[in-house]
Symmetry: C2
Subunit: 218 residues, 2 copies
DNA sequence: CGTTGTGAAATGATTCACAGCT
DNA sequence: AGCTGTGAATCATTTCACAACG
């Protein structure tokens, strides 16, 4: 039985990084990886890697390491990407269009089955093989296609109202590109992807450890 | 003199959220905000808000709160967004084009002064008012225009090589959209924006606290 | 009164160090 | 010998609680 204690948030983030690292390697390489190797590739300690994995079970063999194929499969299973997630993109502006066409989503099991927009000029058009539907069809599409995930790329002023629609339709997870905090019921998860916030973090590091010379980041 | 001790990474992230919250409010609203108000708006405690701000100085008035205008200005100064950062976009594919056209970057002081790509078909074209240049011109543009920040939106296989070019040219901060970990010298900062990793976090929460019913996230 | 700023306490996460397996 | 899994120790972050201030 897997060790089922508390799971640190940062560990889950790293799980994704472990998987990405494994997937980026030629599958023909040595059948096995050690926590040391994985840690070095990611700039963290080997103990950290082992602790993270230990939250979910025992995947390694003492003296040998982790079997490449097994660990990859285990990580996918843990993260929930060993299946297909029917997803939709809401808002077919610049960001929405780029996301729809991003081929990596499909290879990761996030299947964009529809896009939605309020602009009559683009409703009915096709973007990257996905038909753009009016928002009035959102509810029925989410229900009939069992859509669990929405990628929200609408303008900030309508983000909350659109979210309410999504939640009412039954969406359980939202990747939010709009620069606002969304209020949702407890059973719905939000992950934020605000570009400007990431850039501000960069600006901070540049102006803090740059000119002044001191790099007093914890 | 500002309290200049250790600065927790999470605090810097929240600073951006405080600023976003303040900027989203009508400037005509009450001249003052309390740590309680700000915390409630972001789903964190008032003590957390005060501790975060205390890392950088004393901005509030006991019994009153924080002056809206002063706090906004202080946050911009701390984050380094009270100035213009000359930036470039490298890779004019789907993501690169969306980023170039994202109007919020300019209002936040991140001025995209050029874009670069290796595809002869799009070199010379203009995207959102920005001219696409060949990579051979990267070095001279970065130097003559004092570019500090690059938004890297090239395919994963060439991300590291492109990064090396950027670093050699003098770029000091990179927002990386490619799904790889970039190796850079210590004086260069990297912030990662990998869409698929964010989606995996969402999938994890959905498959973990969903079907099985237990929400054992720390 | 309400609110800030801040030590002290509590909680959370990472690293250490080593027993035990291959 | 090399490596995992894990309790114990260290380090980081958050919350508590309250004195001081307007």
């Amino acid at each position: 039985m897997p060790s089922s204690g508390r799971i640190p948030r940062p560990s889950v983030k790293r799980l994704s990084l472990y998987l990405r690292e494994l997937e980026s390697r030629a599958a023909a390489e040595p059948q096995t990886v050690s926590s040391r190797e994985l840690g070095d590739a990611l700039g963290i300690t080997d103990a950290q890697v082992r602790k993270d994995l230990a939250c979910f079970g025992q995947f390694g063999q003492p003296g040998v390491g982790y079997a490449y194929a097994e660990l990859t499969a285990a990580l996918r299973r843990i993260l929930g990407t060993d299946r297909v997630w029917n997803s939709i993109v809401v808002g077919a502006g610049n960001i929405g269009r780029a996301v729809i066409k991003y081929p990596r989503l499909r290879t990761k099991g996030f299947e964009i089955i529809a896009a939605f927009d309020s602009d009559p000029a683009i409703i009915g058009t096709e973007i990257g093989g996905v038909r753009v539907q009016p928002l009035t069809e959102l509810d029925s599409t989410v229900r009939t296609q069992a859509v669990a995930i929405a990628l929200l790329a609408v303008p900030a002023p309508v983000a909350q109202a659109t979210t309410d629609q999504l939640v009412a339709a039954g969406v359980r997870g939202i990747l939010n590109f709009a620069p606002v905090r969304l209020a949702v019921p407890a059973h719905v998860s939000i992950v934020s992807a605000d570009l400007t916030i990431e850039l501000e973090q960069l600006a901070f590091r540049l102006s803090f450890s740059g000119p002044e010379g001191n790099g007093a980041l914890a």
